[in-house]
Symmetry: C2
Subunit: 217 residues, 2 copies
DNA sequence: TGGATACAGCCTGTATACAATCGGGCTTTG
DNA sequence: CAAAGCCCGATTGTATACAGGCTGTATCCA
């Protein structure tokens, strides 16, 4: 399940960070049940830190607990998904605006490089996964550059909660790649308005890939 | 410290809800240390539920814990306060837009009633407290009417985190009352754009009451 | 054969015991 | 008298024991 322990002041914090990372990068996919004793074994810990870490994740919103039944990696239904997209529509364009012109060239170069490496003509399973990864890294780079840690973490959580629906957006592969190129350019050139607009369309398109319509801009 | 126990499936949840309510309505003000044994006594519980509730509140962002030293009701510094206001500037106008025309008349009437009861000429300590209370109830009514539970809870948390700075906005008493009246009217008439704009100015004004300038609309 | 029920095992929720860490006050010493 | 070091009490962090609920299975009855 995992490898070496990471350093941390308290055991609870270590377990929390470990689980959080595993949820965010989908090693623990949406809906995964979190069994105490198994986590104790896998994370080399005892029940108290594991339980406290789960409770903290519950507060963050990444974990759902059903009393006397167990905890699960949070899973949202369509209705909640659309609500989350609405929130993201308010936050992500703003973050992109703030980040424009503030992301190191090296970071942007690397992302562009990876985008170019994708096979747009006939994307394979790996290409989908890679794009998803790039998307995550780009959003994160924006979050960091925006200089607002709370905003960054919030967006990361909301993005994670949407993961259960991301497979529905495969039809948009080509569009998404285009959007990413355009976004990278706007961010590089410091065109805040442009970056914000592209991000809005990007998130909106993601939300609309599902059979529902959203609010207006 | 408090009265009767509230019903709940698990003890942890009960303690969590109790503490959360106490933090949100400032019975537990910003910075208050949360001593385990004292909470056990006051809430008639044992350490495990108390600790788990605290951890969950930590995840929500309402509590901060310093390892081996203790937990405290979250307190933000000026820098973080401004960042939170920036997030609220993205969310609250949107929520107001969504809520326009969807808040029951009775709710709006009651709020307007309470606004009229304030002494605008020479506000006393009670008037300040009452306005703060009205403000909270209005924001909450908007959050509920927006029909997005996650958004509502998020805004409530962010608002709570700003409480440490709300005393600085006393100079704006009269302006705030005006803004509330205007907002109530727009919400009642279903003027979404207007409601959104007023809310933006309202939050922005709150943030700018402090010696710093914010981002642009 | 179908369904209801009782039972068993596992899992979660809670309480408590034990260990580690921190802060404060006292003592000691230059 | 001031500063440094040490010790002790208190509080937090962790481990474990105990209790109660839920699920799934097997059995019994109609």
């Amino acid at each position: 399940m995992q490898g070496l322990k990471v350093a941390s002041d308290t055991e609870t914090e270590r377990v929390f960070e470990t689980l959080k990372a595993m949820i965010l990068d989908t090693r623990l996919p949406t809906g995964t049940p979190l069994n105490h004793s198994q986590l104790c074994r896998d994370l080399q810990s005892s029940r108290t830190p594991v339980r406290e870490a789960i409770r903290k994740l519950e507060g963050v919103g990444l974990v759902t607990t059903v009393p006397h039944r167990g905890s699960y990696v949070a899973q949202v239904d369509l209705r909640e998904f659309l609500q989350i997209v609405e929130i993201r529509l308010q936050l992500e364009p703003f973050a992109a605006r703030q980040a424009a012109g503030r992301i190191p060239d090296g970071t942007l170069d690397a992302l562009e490089e990876r985008l170019h490496a994708l096979n747009r003509a006939a994307p394979t399973e790996e290409d989908f996964a890679a794009l998803h990864q790039i998307d995550g890294d780009l959003h994160h780079a924006i979050g960091v550059a925006a200089g607002n840690r709370r905003l960054d973490e919030l967006m990361e959580t909301l993005r994670s909660l949407c993961q259960g629906f991301s497979h529905d957006s495969r039809l948009r592969f080509d569009v998404m790649v285009d959007e990413h190129f355009a976004l990278l350019r706007a961010l590089r050139d410091g065109e805040a308005d442009e970056a914000s607009t592209i991000m809005y369309k990007h998130v909106r398109g993601f939300g609309e890939a599902l059979p529902r319509l959203m609010g207006s801009p």
